[in-house]
Amino acid sequence: MDVVLSLTQTALELGLISALTVLALFLSYSMLNVCDLSTDGCFTLGAAVGAVVAISGHPYLAIVAAMIAGMLSGLITAFLQTKMGVDSLLAGIVVNTALYSINIAVMGNSSLLNMNKTETVFTKMQALLKGTFLESQYKMVVIVIALVLVIVFLSLFLETRLGLAIRATGNNPAMVKSSSINTVFTTIVGLVIANAFTALSGCLLAQSQKSVNIDIGTGMVTIALASLLIGNTFFAKSSIPVRAIGVLRFNMPAYMLKLVSAVIVVISISGPYLKSKASLVKRNYALNKKEGN
């Protein structure tokens, strides 16, 4: 029983940390309509930068540093696609590739960093909660605080004029231009914020599992997209805060996760397409039958 409980708890913690990346994609993919393929690299970047700063003895600064690193990465992706004429998918892939080298450099020419004896936001929280009923849930407390902050920020932000402009940029760019808003600006701001959350997500995962390796972010974009699409299916008609919560619920870390996620992404994207095809095939069949062929 204990094993099951502790497994569930770990799964939930991991899932909720990844949920931050899902929220990032909620902003870039659902709102801004940009599929940001630099997510994997940016996640690792957040983990690496956060780990290095934490190891040097600044667990809180680690979070800030990771987010700033993420913002820079987002800025470069956005700059490539809005100012340098690079296709948005390609811009993400290129940045993702470049980040591989940068991440290894950040980790000091190593592909693995160990934080067993490092003070992290989690160990800080553990010390803080010692003796209270939440003692064993210290990880969860940190993660939930981060999530709540991000969700509150997003819900407020998306209702501001800038937030509206970012949503409209993904919805109808022509209309945004005719409202005298520069779509280059809205795209850059959107990607910068989204990547800050992706990096935060990576930073928290590294601190919680007390290690970083260069593969920590591999497949994150597919996993996050899968969560996002499932969340959308269930909560698409709800208001923004509810949708933001919806994306959190369906993370399920296990070693099959990446395969399952890939399948989910394919099904939810190609499902509607195949459905329309199927009805055509059916009609064709019915027609042929009627004519006695």
Binding site: N171, K177, S178
Partner: protein
């Protein structure tokens, strides 16, 4: 207030698909003018609007608005002074956002981080009520749920909520049913009069080309071939327009959507 001098634009220059959409076109629009524009298919009417609003930059020539050279000004900056409506009602608003959010974006008041105030919402509601389309009760609904006519009326409101210097209407009622089209045209007329907006309207309806505004242009092959205003225009009939077109262009007006009369 708007002055185009010798403006030219060729698409795909130097290729077999090269198409001269505007050739050495000059036009002077006076403050308060309401100009109607007619022309055959591919005459360059929409290209003219695209050039004025900055969708592309012209190859040659100079465009001035209010005494300021805007030839190389990007589209989003020009749109502070130029409002525009398209034939397709889907183009002017964001379908996934609510009526209120669309209006807030168009109004663009406050700083980047400000939210829509109660006062603004009330103002939007009052303005929407004037359209008499029941939109004031659907402020929280996504624009994608509205009908074409409702969306076009909303777009018109969005384009004029901060009255622009110049309003460009590109067959903005062509995709609507006759009754709705008439309603949107009436709203257009009222807004343009009330806010004293200079306006250019492309139409395929010869009758409204004469019924609206104070000046009528005919375009063919990227040039303005006929320009009539004042008393001369007051005496014109739709037949006169057709004949004038044939005389100036050397061929008949071949617009597949042209309407000789109100339907």
């Amino acid at each position: 207030m708007l002055k185009l001098t010798d403006v030219s634009k060729t698409f795909n220059p130097g290729t077999i698909n090269a198409k001269t959409a505007m050739s050495h076109l000059s036009l002077n629009v006076e403050d308060g003018d309401f100009i109607t524009i007619i022309g055959s298919n591919g005459a360059g009417k929409s290209t003219l609007f695209n050039a004025i609003s900055g969708v592309f930059f012209t190859d040659e020539g100079r465009i001035e608005l209010d005494g300021r050279d805007i030839t190389l000004m990007p589209e989003y900056k020009r749109s502070r002074k130029i409002g525009r409506l398209f034939q397709d009602p889907m183009l002017g608003s964001a379908p996934g956002m609510t009526v209120e959010e669309n209006l807030a974006l168009a109004a663009g008041s406050g700083t980047w981080l400000s939210r829509v105030s109660k006062k603004e919402k009330k103002h939007f509601r009052e303005k929407l009520a004037l359209l008499d389309m029941g939109l004031e009760d659907r402020m929280k609904q996504p624009v994608g749920l509205l009908s074409g006519g409702q969306r076009q009326a909303l777009t018109l409101m969005m384009a004029t909520i901060n009255p622009p210097k110049l309003l460009l209407l590109d067959e903005h009622t062509a995709a609507l049913d006759p009754a709705t089209a008439e309603k949107v045209l009436k709203i257009t007329k009222d807004v343009v009069n009330d806010e004293h907006i200079t306006c250019m309207m492309i139409t395929h309806n010869l009758e409204s080309a004469l019924a609206f505004g104070n000046r009528t242009l005919m375009m063919d092959k990227g040039s303005i071939i006929f320009d009539v205003s004042g008393e001369e225009r007051a005496g014109l009939t739709t037949d006169d327009l057709l004949q004038a077109f044939k005389r100036e262009a050397g061929h008949i007006l071949d617009n597949d959507r042209i309407l000789l009369k109100e339907d």
